[in-house]
């Protein structure tokens, strides 16, 4: 009997026993009630009375977005495989449902049992990007949890944060009891162990004291990768930034990122929860590799997921079969920072076609680089679907691509698009970033010129029906991110970025081209929090109090509300985001150690300013990013030297 099937049967029985978050009368009144139903195929419902720890795994956005997040599915699977723990999913409801819940005094709870957030033992919130920060507060409060950690009562749940934004947790430090830095699938077990022991020592929830809670936090701080902000004091630096220093013996000076060493055997969620309603990524996902060694200088993921690790084609093939058999999805997407970099990519795709083709399951590759998108690979993927393909040249001119270390030439890109058009694709999406350091108007014009050439190739290759030829351009704004060689840079102002966007729009007039630009005002807010310090907590709270939630959805975003909140805290949003720091300045995230040393980042920053590139370390040898010292030895250095791409 397959595991997924047995879990499902248990559900159906338990669904009837559980009190659900929203009653049928409420469901009848909300838009798209399917997202509040719970009890999906593969949802794991455990009786709260039979587990020691209830863990609420929260995604601070709506169901459609949260259910598409692979990381959450991994943790859901890992936590629920422990018999003593139950993991439930929590998403923020849409605003019509929030309104109804407030009117009727209903608390936000888990989709599995409807248990309110405040009754869980642990509330874990994933932090994917900065515009979700206000929704974090909204989610806690709607679930009956005190938002400020120093005001949280002893009986309230422990509030933990994780995910890429935990790289610089400081703006959110006031709201979280602890953050996990790095990869969660191993650390979460250690957290459950510590919490379980502590709960056994203090079984009566109502009798717990704040001293008990501090004791738990101190124990958690001993787990590698755990950052407990309340055990650190903040001091103002010469640049006027709040820099934190340990204030307790348990608090390490630097918190080292957790890395799953044996990624090849790390747990794969083989029975992921199948959403009821259509979600953003409505397909199965399987992570084929983690990390990327190409070293694009703007990219935080390139640091955060180092070193590059792979799963074998055999492991992936078996897991993919299980996933499809357990879910019935009609598509499986290969997840990686860059799929074609996997040393066995062709074998993987062939294997999946062989195993799943009879079930009409298609294989998707969401992220492709331009330089190793081979004809062979094009035909493999083409066998399944021709809807669209995404390539990321990032900058228009070679000079600027060298600045950001995107080791791709114009010829690479043009060759790749020719391959794609010739193989039958009709739509190509190109990603660019504007607002890059040293960028001039010529670089923007170069984007337009490059796009023109791509359109020309599309015409030459005679896309079958000319009117179907489409080149979609996405122009994001560079947000300097902590732990990248661009961490010292200022964010360009909305006015500067708007001028660049205008120039680009003027140049891209052909009917085959669609241009979509990242909102420069939203990007400015993201930038301020991306590199912000502890003093920003009141700003987040103020925006939330003024009604700012689900701000990643454009219609809910208000730039004025952010400006006013910064002003109310005696700050200026444009100044906060627009600060350029000297190399060597103390930075708010100095105590977070991702394993890449500042010497390497400084060197990369200097190379960027001179337009010098650094080749992929798998091909050119170790660049001493620092990982070799922390990982001992670096698996990339260890195993990839002989890889021939």
């Amino acid at each position: 009997m397959r595991r997924g099937a047995s879990v499902r049967r248990l559900d159906t029985y338990r669904i009837q026993c559980c009190v659900r978050m929203l009653s049928e009368t409420v469901l009848a009144e909300v838009q798209g009630p399917a997202r509040y139903l719970g009890g999906e195929v593969n949802a794991v419902v455990k009786d709260p009375a039979e587990v020691r720890i209830q863990f609420a795994l929260c995604y601070p956005d709506v169901y459609e977005v949260g259910m598409s997040h692979l990381g959450s599915q991994i943790l859901y699977h890992v936590i629920n495989s422990r018999p003593e723990a139950a993991c439930e999913r929590v998403y923020y409801p849409r605003l019509d449902a929030v309104e109804l819940m407030r009117q009727r005094g209903l608390k936000l709870g888990g989709l599995e049992t409807g248990c309110a957030l405040c009754d869980f033992d642990i509330v874990g919130i994933t932090l994917q990007h900065e515009l979700t920060y206000t929704t974090v507060l909204a989610l806690l409060e709607l679930g009956g949890v005190t938002i400020r950690s120093d005001q949280r009562r002893p009986e309230e749940p422990l509030v933990l944060g994780g995910g890429p934004c935990a790289c610089n947790p400081e703006p959110l430090a006031a709201f979280f009891d602890a953050f996990l830095i790095g990869e969660g699938e191993e650390a979460v077990g250690e957290i459950l162990d510590i919490c379980g022991q502590w709960q056994q020592a203090h079984p009566e929830r109502g009798a717990r004291t704040s001293a008990n809670r501090t004791e738990l936090l101190r124990q958690l701080a001993r787990i590698p990768g755990m950052y407990v902000p309340s055990l650190y004091d903040a001091e103002e630096s010469a640049e006027g930034l709040l820099i934190v220093k340990p204030a307790a013996p348990e608090a390490p000076t630097t918190v080292a990122r957790r890395v799953v060493r044996d990624f090849g055997h790390a747990p794969i969620p083989e029975a992921p929860v199948v959403p009821w309603a259509e979600v953003v990524h409505d397909r199965a996902q399987i992570e084929i590799s983690r990390g990327c060694t190409r070293g694009c200088r703007f990219c935080q993921a390139g640091t955060f997921y180092r070193p590059t690790r792979e799963r074998s084609a055999e492991t992936l093939r078996q897991a993919a079969q299980q996933i499809i058999h357990n879910t019935g999805f009609d598509e499986i997407a290969l997840a990686a920072l860059n799929c074609p970099d996997h040393s066995q990519i062709i074998e993987i795709i062939d294997g999946l076609h062989e195993d799943l083709g009879h079930l009409r399951v298609s294989v998707g590759l969401p992220s492709l680089r331009t330089d190793n998108f081979s004809i062979d690979l094009a035909h493999k993927v083409q066998a399944v679907r021709k809807s669209g393909i995404t390539l990321a040249p990032e900058a228009g001119s070679q000079r600027l691509r060298d600045v950001i270390n995107k080791n791709v030439t114009e010829q690479d890109l043009l060759d790749a698009t020719r391959v794609a058009f010739a193989a039958g694709w009709e739509t190509i999406k190109l990603y660019f970033i504007i607002g890059l350091p040293t960028e001039t108007d010529e670089d923007i014009v170069a984007i337009a010129d490059l796009v023109e050439k791509v359109v020309e190739i599309g015409r030459e290759e005679r896309v079958r029906r000319r009117r179907h030829l489409r080149v979609n351009i996405s122009a994001a704004c560079l947000i300097p991110k902590p732990h990248t060689p661009f961490q010292w840079l200022r964010m360009k102002s909305p006015a500067e970025l708007a001028a660049k966007q205008y120039l680009l729009r003027q140049r891209l007039k052909r009917k085959e081209i669609r241009l979509s630009c990242h909102d420069a005002q939203a990007a400015l807010v993201e930038a301020a929090f991306s590199r912000g310090d502890r003093s920003l907590a009141p700003v987040i709270e103020q925006v939330y109090r003024a009604g700012g939630v689900l701000e990643a959805w454009g219609e809910n975003f208000s730039f004025e509300r952010w400006q006013q909140a910064f002003a109310a805290a005696g700050k200026d949003l444009a100044v906060e985001a627009g600060r350029e720091w000297p190399v060597g300045a103390a930075l708010p995230w100095e105590h977070i150690d991702l394993g890449v040393c500042s010497r390497f980042l400084e060197h990369q920053y200097a190379c960027a300013q001179r337009g010098l590139t650094t080749p992929d370390c798998r091909l050119a040898g170790c660049h001493e990013c620092g990982l070799d010292e922390t990982m001992q030895p670096c698996p990339t250095k260890d195993s990839y030297v002989a890889v021939n791409i």
Binding site: A5, D11, I15, P33, G39, G328, F329, R360
Partner: protein
């Protein structure tokens, strides 16, 4: 198309009767279609798939059910390429359908050129009334005056314009039952020329009440035939 590989295979389909009830009645019609597509793939049934780059199992639904409405005799047809034992197909599909979307019966039938549901003419509905919020005598009068009338006109919006429609001919049965839980029982036409939607009928009845509203607790479609 006629010479493709599927035409050499058996041209049969499974006629599925199922229930959509409890919380799953809040699934939209497209969501239900996706649930079936995935259930069929999990069950590894020998189904026919559509052509093209986005193949889906060929499943035809008799009549979409609105979000929130329960159905206890819903119908769909799954095109098959092989004839599995009916019992086995029922067992496998039933195991993969989530609780709330429950299999009632399966029949394997030969495929014909016409849609398997082309002959459907009527749908029966039960409307459970919130009895404490309504005067049942008044409701009975409204029902009686409806059935006594020969022409009942409602406005129906189509893509282009609003039309006046007489819904009386398509209302084959309408009665109020007050033994046990009070409910309205009705039988409405599904044919394009005299189609009646339950919501239209509810609006007409509500208009004929002093309070101009008819509190419905639940709508159940009980039969398609």
């Amino acid at each position: 198309m006629r010479n493709d590989s599927t035409s050499e295979k058996q041209r049969i389909y499974a006629r599925i009767e199922y229930r959509k009830a409890h919380r799953l009645r809040f699934l939209g019609h497209l969501d239900v279609a996706t649930v079936f597509d995935r259930a069929v793939r999990r069950a590894q049934l020998p189904v026919a798939y559509t052509e093209g780059f986005h193949p889906r199992a060929k499943i035809t639904f008799a009549q979409p059910l609105p979000v929130g409405t329960a159905g206890i005799g819903e119908l769909c047809a799954i095109d098959l390429v092989e004839r599995p034992p009916t019992q086995q197909l029922a067992k496998h599909l039933s195991r993969e359908l989530p609780g709330g979307l429950d299999l009632v019966s399966v029949q394997i039938l030969p495929r014909t050129k016409r849609s398997p549901f082309a002959d459907l003419a009527r749908a029966d509905y039960l409307l459970v009334i919130a009895a404490d919020e309504v005067d049942l005598n008044e409701l009975r009068q409204a029902v009686d005056s409806f059935t006594a009338a020969e022409i009942i006109t409602v406005e129906r919006e189509t893509k282009r314009h609003t039309r006046q429609i007489n819904i009386r001919p398509g209302t084959h049965e309408l009665s109020l039952k007050t033994d046990g839980t009070p409910h309205i029982q009705m039988s409405l036409s599904l044919r394009p020329d005299d189609l009646v939607k339950p919501v239209e009928l509810v609006e007409v009845l509500a208009e004929r009440m002093a309070c101009h509203r008819l509190p419905i607790q639940q709508v159940i479609r009980s039969r398609l035939y």
